[in-house]
């Protein structure tokens, strides 16, 4: 328990979390501080590339076997299953329409790469090792949730756009392609590749993460201001409880496939996190009637800060406890 508090304090007082808080506060205070769209996108490409490459290199060094396949499978199943549970909960506790509930549910099955990066950074800080291939699991968890939600809509008699381009768009969205591609390049080039570019992707990544979180705080804060009215209390409660529920599912799945304590913490983090890049874009195409200010604000303004501050230390504590380190 003591360890958990120390971990939580270290986490909350990290420059990263404080940068998010700074952005959030600046937005609420209506400061004109802002990060240019192109800079925010460039930072996000940088983070995806760096984290993917690092994961690939670590796999090249440690080797993988059937455990990678099991983890990918577990991730895929979690991503597909969580939306169904999330949908049922939302319909039970809130008054969201079928379409809105399905759209929100898709976000919670899918994952947030920045939450994942923050998780690895907390593990690095605490000196806990984790499987390098978890970044591939993150990529595998991006898309299934979307298909799950669209299937839900179909079952409930709604109509989602279902055209040729949509599936390819979902599976080949930029963040999946870059994460998987960088992972593959890191795997292929291994230690030698890392030696050439580590000055770019290893040491500076935490600083880059700070600026990216500052931007996310600004965007989340502004979204929060303008969408306050759309978020009723039950939906906010969902945004705080669903990460824990998803996390527990991730914990169970991770135990079944025998992940290490660090890997377990990351699978819990992925399951607990909610998408804010790929899924919102897919929802605008497939479910235009769903209200974006609900799902975007909930994911970015409620669940993301919750995971960043409280969630990650709890997930790490739970994983180390359960994995019986």
């Amino acid at each position: 328990m003591d360890g958990l508090f120390a971990l939580a304090a270290a986490n909350i007082l990290s420059p990263m979390v404080l940068c998010f808080a700074l952005g959030f506060g600046a937005a609420l205070a209506r400061s004109d501080l802002s990060v240019p769209e192109a800079a925010a996108k460039a930072l996000s490409l940088y983070l995806l590339f760096a984290i993917g490459f690092k994961g690939g290199v670590s796999v090249a060094q440690s080797g993988v076997g059937v455990d990678l396949v099991a983890a990918l499978l577990a991730g895929t199943v979690l991503s597909a299953a969580i939306p169904i549970l999330a949908f049922a909960i939302l319909r039970a506790i809130s008054r969201l329409s079928v379409v809105d509930a399905a759209a929100v549910a898709a976000h919670y099955g899918s994952i947030s790469v920045v939450t994942f990066v923050a998780g690895t950074s907390a593990l690095d800080g605490a000196g806990i090792a984790y499987e390098g291939y978890m970044v591939a699991v993150a990529a595998a968890m991006e898309a299934p949730a979307i298909l799950s939600a669209l299937w839900l809509i179909g079952k409930k008699g709604g109509t989602a756009e279902r055209e040729d381009g949509l599936l390819r768009e979902i599976l080949l969205n930029g963040s999946i392609v870059l994460l998987v591609g960088a992972f593959a390049i890191g795997w292929a080039t291994g230690r030698d590749g890392m030696a050439r570019i580590d000055a770019f992707i290893v040491a500076p990544i935490q600083g880059g993460l700070c600026l990216f979180l500052l931007d996310m705080g600004l965007v989340a804060g502004r979204g929060f201001l303008s969408a306050r009215g759309d978020l009723k209390a039950p939906v906010i409660v969902f945004g705080l409880v669903m990460p824990l529920i998803g996390g527990i599912l991730g914990l169970v799945a991770g135990l079944l496939i025998g992940l290490s304590a660090g890997g377990l913490a990351l699978l819990v983090t992925l399951s607990a996190s909610a998408s804010y890049i790929a899924v919102p874009a897919a929802m605008r195409v497939a479910l235009p009637e769903a209200n974006p200010s609900i799902y975007l604000t909930l994911s970015l303004g409620v669940t993301f800060p919750f995971n960043l501050t409280v969630g990650i230390p709890v997930y790490i504590a739970a994983a180390t406890l359960v994995a019986g380190s």
Binding site: S34, V35, P36, E37, A40, K41, S44, E161, G165, D215, M216, L218, V219, R222, S226, A227, Y276, I277, A278, P280, A281, M283, R284, V285, P288, E289, N291, P292, S293, L296
Partner: protein, 103 residues
């Protein structure tokens, strides 16, 4: 200079729908269009801005197509089919152009 009447159609549409819109325009026989970036805006669904955004959701673009008057109906129908279920605005203005054979 010798000018010819034409129509300027301006479609403000979600960025995620851009590719579908331009494909529909091309199918409808539109020979040219130009896409302008949009910074932000406001409407029934609230005020928005692209600042600091990384998701393509919640961004818009403005597509401008200048066409001969007789082509405006298929264009607008094609555009409307894409915009219909989505956020977006279509406006049509009379204009004059040079080199009429291009439109």
């Amino acid at each position: 200079m010798q000018t010819h009447v034409a129509k300027r159609v301006e479609i403000i549409i979600e960025a995620v729908m851009e590719r579908r819109l331009t494909a529909a325009l091309t199918d409808a026989g539109v020979t040219g269009f130009t896409v302008l970036p949009v910074l932000g805006g406001g409407g029934r669904s609230g005020v928005w801005s692209r600042e600091g955004q990384v998701t393509r959701a919640g961004g818009m673009v403005a597509v401008i197509a200048i066409v001969a008057p007789e082509r405006v109906d298929p264009l607008v129908e094609a555009a409307f089919a894409v915009v219909e279920r989505h956020i977006g605005v279509i406006s049509i203005t009379d204009c004059e152009v040079l080199r009429a054979n291009r439109f």
